[in-house]
């Protein structure tokens, strides 16, 4: 059993300042198991009293080898692994994967499937921001926010369970459309959400936004300018809080987002408080999109008709020979994608979630790479944390909204 890597000052001479080598500052290990790091993130802090002189993140404690494992499975089976990457945005991961496969094989998606995809993706965005709000408020010692947010989240998980049978890892969005049509109780449940949630978001705002404790702990902390953000590859609410209005749903729309009217909240300060306000406003806009999508929901099929790539409905297998052959081929061998490589990106609650998919003509993805937003968002942490107090560092980590499954893949 290999022992824990003991890292000495010699190994990190080039990363910490000379004061650490002389012994003036303390090297503290904010280890992989810590209540405030939102997962298994290890931070090596160099502290001068209470002030952080430098911060070196050590990641990889949740590395799952998903990219290599997906190369060993067919396209249909590999989708199951994609849910487990960014486990707060499971529907979004499925959406990114499905869009990548559809682009690669040039598959059409019926409009009803696109609208339902938008509804579920926006509900997942809302749910992810709820968990962010609950856990980062918990870090700032506002314990009741945690309980309120998780109470709200149960309604959304009920909707996901109603559609797909699973609360989190749904694998409901598949290449070519959806797995099956939504049940009859779906609309009533979503309408109930749309009726009650705006008041709840107002409650959160009343609790936190003008709270002097919240302002003291988050205003002016962890600033990043827009240029620094882009240079570090930071996307998502962090980028929008720093003044750059870039959202893939508006600038490079996918899955029918161009039909819906919504705003992209942007702020210019770039600190933790601005990110909080941006995400709170995004929650409201997500509800607005869900309402429009639900009102305009078209009737029709939810899966594409191209049965070379999409399984035929079970009812046809008994009567049609081709349906049986397609089903057999898809379940035993999988479909063969044409040779070539593509890159697609969607806007996840954390930023740009991109999929680079390359195929060599076979039934398995030859190379799939997930451009996950939290990886680049986290790389800006050493810059943001120079010269802040340790308590501020906790607030900054909360505002980056990292999900370690996303960082380590």
């Amino acid at each position: 059993m290999p022992d824990i890597q003991e890292i000495t000052v010699d190994d990190l001479k080039h990363l910490v300042s000379e004061r650490a080598i002389q012994g003036e500052t303390v090297l503290l290990n904010m280890g992989p198991q810590h209540p405030s790091t939102h997962g298994v993130l290890r931070l090596l802090l160099e502290l001068d009293g209470e002030i952080v002189v430098s911060c070196v993140p050590d990641i990889g404690f949740l590395h799952t080898g998903i990219e290599k494992n997906m190369e060993a499975k067919t396209y249909q089976k590999a989708e199951v692994m994609s849910d487990r990457l960014d486990y707060m945005n499971t529907v979004g991961n499925n959406l990114a994967y499905s869009m990548a496969v559809e682009k690669l094989v040039d598959l059409d998606v019926p409009p009803r499937a696109q609208a339902i995809r938008v509804i579920l993706a926006e509900l997942t965005r809302f749910q992810s921001h709820l968990v962010w709000l609950g856990t980062s408020a918990l870090d700032l010692a506002a314990m009741s926010m945690f309980l309120y947010c998780f109470r709200e989240r149960e309604y959304i998980l009920d909707v996901l369970e109603m559609c797909s049978g699973q609360r989190m890892m749904t694998t409901y969005i598949r290449p070519g459309g959806l797995w099956r049509d939504v049940p009859v109780e779906f609309e009533a449940a979503v309408r109930n959400i749309l009726k009650t949630f705006p008041k709840r978001v107002d409650e959160y705002e009343a609790l936190l936004t003008r709270n002097p404790l919240m302002l003291d702990r988050t205003y002016g902390i962890g600033k990043l300018t827009g240029e620094e953000c882009l240079n570090f590859g930071v996307t998502g609410p962090m980028l929008r809080a720093s003044g750059v209005k870039w959202d893939l749903r508006k600038n490079r729309p996918y899955s029918g987002y161009e039909q819906y009217e919504f705003e992209i909240p942007t702020r210019t300060e770039g600190d933790v408080y601005a990110r909080y306000l941006v995400r709170l406003e995004e929650m409201r806009q997500a509800l607005r999109i869900v309402e429009q999508a639900l009102d305009k929901l078209p009737m029709g099929a939810v899966r594409s008709n191209n049965h070379k790539y999409v399984p035929p409905p079970r009812s046809e297998i008994g009567v049609s020979m081709e349906a049986l052959i397609h089903h057999f081929k898809l379940w035993t061998e999988g479909f063969n994608a044409p040779q070539g490589s593509i890159y697609t990106a969607i806007e996840s609650p954390r930023g740009e979630l991109g999929v680079y998919l390359e195929s060599d003509g076979g039934p398995k993805p030859y190379r799939i790479h997930w451009r996950t937003p939290s990886f680049d968002n986290l790389s800006s942490l050493p810059l943001m944390s120079k010269g802040v107090l340790v308590a501020d560092l906790v607030a900054i980590i909360g505002s980056v909204d990292i999900v370690l499954g996303d960082v380590d893949r």
Binding site: I4, H63, R151, E154, R167, M168
Partner: protein, 161 residues
């Protein structure tokens, strides 16, 4: 602990003391925060208001291993994390129990590759395995109650390790 070691296996006279000790252990078992991945979110859900775990004694989650007696390994354990897990398990005081929550902690789950430990029982002895990917909060509570039954059925002579 001293009373148990002295009295040991005395049969009928110590039965009610065993039961009393087991009852007190299960009524306030504090888990250690060891949420790694997706199962951690369901563990947090189980702790939150809808599926309250506080009614079963788990009022708080202690981040420090020295103050907890249950470790719920929630999530996939990678090869880099395994020595950390073992070290934290060693830091917990006796008596301690381990619940392996989820498929990845029990057997490697969906991931059968170089990076993920195929079951956390390769490094720590597990008492209860909870299946699911992720297990519903009710499943986790069922696992916790199964552990309570196991603890209540424990005799003194078994606890000494």
């Amino acid at each position: 602990m001293g009373v148990e070691q002295k009295l040991g296996n005395m049969g009928i006279a110590t039965t009610t003391l065993e039961q009393a000790v087991a009852w007190s252990r299960t009524n306030a078992m504090w888990p250690m925060l060891f949420g790694l991945a997706c199962c951690a979110i369901e563990m947090m859900s189980a702790q939150a208001a809808h599926y309250d775990m506080s009614r079963f004694g788990m009022e708080l989650m202690r981040p420090s291993p020295r103050q907890s007696d249950l470790m719920i390994v929630a999530g996939r354990v990678s090869r880099k994390m395994a020595p950390v897990l073992r070290r934290l398990y060693d830091q917990m005081p006796e008596p301690k129990w381990v619940i392996s929550m989820g498929d990845c902690a029990s057997c490697g789950g969906v991931f059968n590759n170089y990076a993920i430990m195929q079951g956390v029982d390769e490094v720590v002895p597990v008492d209860v395995y909870v299946a699911g990917c992720p297990p519903r909060p009710e499943a986790l509570i069922h696992g916790v109650l199964t552990l309570y039954e196991k603890v209540r059925g424990m005799k003194f002579a078994e606890i000494k390790k």
